[in-house]
């Protein structure tokens, strides 16, 4: 559609126009609500906050927002694939390629990551008895970097410059020669900025877990979610650094004509190595926190301590370690030779062992317990069989010669949706329902939660189970249509029905949130009869937690205090807690990097220089401010 404004005619495809209209229509009631309820103060408060619960809430809020956006992308994909030779709206060729690129990129980087980091932010300090993350200011920087990276990526859609290189961004397709527009730059910089934020947050979580545990909370008494967070954070630091390097080199190839990934000196396979050295650990970065949450949730709602705690910790570490040795199983068909193909097949199979251990330990935690079918527990129970189905196809995929057939078909699509949705997405939902009282002070409605769970579970299996078969029937991934003669119509149609069931289930979730807040029934400190430290602080978690500080003598301290009918022992003598501050600096810093990226993308170098200078200036400014001075006095350099 051609739009004429101030004498400039802009071509806008109808989907982009629809996005503008939809966004403006959504902005009006939200703006109206803010005006009417005088919520400006609250917004300003959240823009300046460094409190872990508030930052966690922001992460979750935007994670859920992008989940809907990327979910709508998925519905477009499924509608286009519902019948053979379909011509749904604009989603053929270019637009289809854009929509699967944004679906994948958003779901991994701007949905799964922030939701997990959000839950870690909310729950981990509470679980280990920390008053906040070790570096509250850095935490805010991390969030705002994620935020500006995600906004940077998303604006590409509104100006009809969406990347169309797939979420894996394989070179040489992603180099300037084959995608000369600005589209791919939005991918490069969007991920670069938000990835930087993720690295900061991971560092922060590691220091928090190592330095700020409550007295007596030995590493061996930590809840498994805290353990999973610790190991995940280590993985993030290594993997996201590799991604940053890959994106950096790609930026140079695109902006300044270097030839790392193409031409005579470069090699497109380098990109695949770098990407998957990031990409495969990333899968475990998504899965391990979910494993941690499920461990805590299954233990809580079975009324039993986790079965085989030491092995559970070791297996998380082992999965993390092996996760770095399997990247080339994404590359069995690029001709690395029989030796590499065998090595990576074996290491990949080996990962199945620690994962299997976890599954059986969860099952034996349930055994002999009393299972309460709360919503978090339903998600945890739905996870076990669904995840095992995804896990075994993973082992099938590791068989490298068979992988020549599976590779890049809908079989692979089925596999990774089975593992990622069953672990990460189920885990996120379980965690959201579980810790919702700690975030907002309310418990989400159980009946609507059941609707959400069952529709989502059934929709999920209905969507992805048939894809195993369409893949083996010869349907490659990332194709926008198929022929009647391919014989995959009915199965694709089932997948589409399943996708819409998942979409409907999310409406129940939103309705649930609305209804719960409308009703406004306050939850107590311990609505689930919990086991770990977070259930001894208020709901929602207050800004000053653990005052006085509890002394931990065993695992699951809150539970055993309840069982033995005693109070937790406390002490006033604790390590200095991290100091919160209120500052616009994190937001300003993220904004300056946003402008820097915008400048490079559009070759407005004055803007890039201004953005870079602003970032540097803010660095210097920050170096001369120390909010701890007011609390602990000036540091004496001679001491």
């Amino acid at each position: 559609m051609d739009l004429s404004l101030f004498g400039i005619t802009v071509f806008l495809p109808s989907d982009v126009l629809a996005a503008w209209v939809f966004t403006i229509l959504m902005a009006i009631p939200i703006g109206f609500f803010v005006l009417k309820k005088q919520k400006f103060g609250l917004i300003i408060d959240y823009m300046r906050t460094t409190n872990h619960r508030k930052i966690g809430t922001l992460y979750i809020l935007f994670g859920v927002l992008y989940f809907f956006r990327a979910g709508i992308d998925a519905l477009f994909i499924r509608t286009q694939l519902a019948v053979p030779n379909n011509d749904f709206w604009v989603f053929q060729g270019e637009k289809y390629n854009e929509v699967f690129t944004t679906h994948g990129t958003l779901m991994i980087f701007f949905v799964a990551m922030p939701l997990l980091l959000g839950l870690m932010n909310v729950a981990v300090p509470l679980q280990i008895g920390a008053r906040d993350l070790a570096f509250p200011f850095l935490n805010a920087v991390g969030f705002w970097l994620f935020f500006s990276g995600s906004v940077f990526f998303n604006i590409s859609f509104f100006i009809n410059m969406t990347p169309e290189i797939g979420w894996t961004g394989y070179a040489p397709l992603s180099t300037e020669m084959f995608t000369p527009g600005l589209d791919t730059d939005f991918y490069v910089f969007g991920l670069q900025i938000s990835g930087l934020g993720t690295i900061f947050t991971a560092l922060n979580l590691i220091v928090t877990i190592i330095r700020h545990r409550a007295p007596g909370m030995k590493m061996t008494r930590m809840p498994l979610f805290a353990w999973a967070t610790l190991i995940t954070s280590v993985l993030i630091i290594i993997a996201f650094t590799v991604l940053a390097i890959a994106l950096y080199l790609l930026m140079f190839d695109r902006q300044f004509g270097t030839g790392f990934f193409s031409g005579t000196e470069g090699d497109p396979v380098f990109w695949q190595h770098l990407f998957w050295i990031f990409g495969h650990p990333e899968v475990y970065i998504l899965a391990l926190p979910a494993f941690g949450m499920f461990s805590d949730i299954i233990s809580t709602f079975s009324k039993k301590v986790i079965f085989g705690y030491p092995v559970m910790v070791i297996s998380i570490a082992l999965i993390g370690f092996l996760g770095f040795m399997v990247w080339a199983h994404h590359m069995f068909t690029v001709g690395l030779g029989p030796m590499a193909n065998t090595f990576f097949a074996i290491t990949t199979m080996a990962i199945a062992v620690p994962t299997g251990i976890k599954v059986f330990n969860w099952l034996f935690t349930i055994r002999g317990g009393v299972i309460r079918f709360t919503i978090p527990m339903l998600f945890a129970l739905g996870f076990i069989p669904s995840f095992v189905m995804g896990g075994v196809t993973g082992v099938m995929l590791s068989v490298s010669a068979a992988n020549f057939q599976f590779h890049d078909t809908h079989f692979v699509v089925a596999h990774f949706h089975y593992v990622i949705i069953a672990s990460t997405i189920f885990g996120i939902f379980a965690g959201l329902y579980y810790w919702y009282p700690k975030i907002t002070g309310f418990v989400l409605d159980g009946k609507l939660g059941k609707w959400h769970f069952w529709l989502f579970l059934i929709g999920f299996h209905l969507t992805f189970f048939p894809m195993h078969i369409t893949g083996l029937e010869g349907m490659p991934r990332r194709v926008y249509t198929y022929e009647v003669s391919d014989g995959v119509f009915l199965l694709n149609f089932l997948s589409t029905i399943g996708a819409f069931l998942m979409g409907i289930s999310m409406l129940f979730f939103i309705w649930n949130v609305y209804k719960t807040h409308r009703k406004g029934e306050k939850a107590g400190n311990d609505p689930w009869d919990g086991r770990t430290l977070e259930w001894c602080v208020g709901s929602p978690a207050p800004e000053k937690t653990f005052d006085p500080m509890p002394i931990v003598k065993e695992m699951d301290p809150v539970w055993y205090a309840k069982v033995e009918n005693r109070e937790l022992r406390t002490t006033a003598n604790t390590r200095p807690a991290p100091i919160e501050t209120e500052s616009f600096l994190p937001l300003a810093f993220a904004l300056s990097l946003f402008l820097l990226s915008l400048g490079i993308t559009f070759s407005w170098y004055w803007l890039a220089i201004a953005g870079g200078a602003a970032a540097l200036g803010l660095f210097i400014l920050r170096s001369f401010t120390d909010e701890r001075e007011n609390h602990y006095g000036k540091e004496d350099s001679h001491e």
Partner: protein, 230 residues
């Protein structure tokens, strides 16, 4: 969960059992189909075990009003049980690893080198956005139609003119990537007569979905005439 299991046979009925990958028309694809079926049944042992335990435990230990005040005994672990589910999966994977390694060593695509001397019918495949070109030893070229003789070893030499593509004829064998600036060699052994669909399996841009071709396996004599006619 349980419902998903119930729909499995239903789905197989719907698909009419014409699963290309599991109807191999060459020795290469045959070995791969064997590995798929073999790993599938091995993995069904795992799925079966987990499902049985899961259903049993969830049913038996569910909350009932009788258990309202029941306090379960804490079980911190059990060395023997844990050793069981470490050792058994390792054994299972060793069983799987043996044929995997054997077939992988034989079938993995390799980079060019001295492959020209290999015995068999050589075909030079060049991919570009969004078409395939097949050149035979006689110099005969055809676009989007691969013609090969039955019963022989077909040695494919693949290169790309632009981005990365992937060559795939599900009935004849697995994929092999087609890279710019580097020749990969892949062997299809003993194909059977017939016409099969081929496609690009690596996302390569705008019309990736339409980058298909036909693979015709014909008799050796017919192939002789084909490559020499103009």
């Amino acid at each position: 969960m349980k419902r998903a299991v119930l729909i499995i046979p239903f789905l197989f009925l719907l698909s009419g059992c014409n699963i290309a990958v599991l109807e191999p028309k060459s020795d290469t694809a045959g070995d791969q189909a064997f590995l798929i079926i073999f790993s599938f049944w091995l993995m069904m042992i795992v799925v079966g075990t987990v499902f049985i335990l899961f259903i049993r435990f969830v049913f038996k230990y569910r909350y009932t009003d009788k258990k309202k005040n029941f306090m379960p005994k804490d079980v911190k672990g059990n060395k023997k049980l844990e050793a069981t589910w470490i050792i058994l999966p390792v054994l299972l994977l060793i069983v799987l690893a043996v044929p995997t390694i054997a077939i992988t060593y034989e079938q993995s695509p390799v980079t060019g080198g001295d492959s020209d001397e290999k015995d068999g019918t050589h075909v030079y495949v060049t991919a570009e956005q969004f078409a395939w070109n097949f050149e035979h030893e006689s110099g005969k070229e055809e676009r989007n139609n691969l013609v090969i003789p039955e019963g022989e070893s077909i040695i494919l030499h693949l290169t790309s003119k632009d981005v990365i593509h992937s060559f795939w004829v599900p009935h004849l064998g697995g994929k092999v990537d087609v890279l710019p600036g580097e020749e990969l060699v892949y062997e299809i052994r003993n194909p059977e007569k017939g016409t099969y669909k081929g496609k690009c399996a690596e996302y390569c841009g705008l019309q990736h979905a339409k980058m298909t071709f036909e693979a015709n396996v014909i008799s050796a004599a017919e192939y002789e005439t084909y490559v020499n006619e103009n």
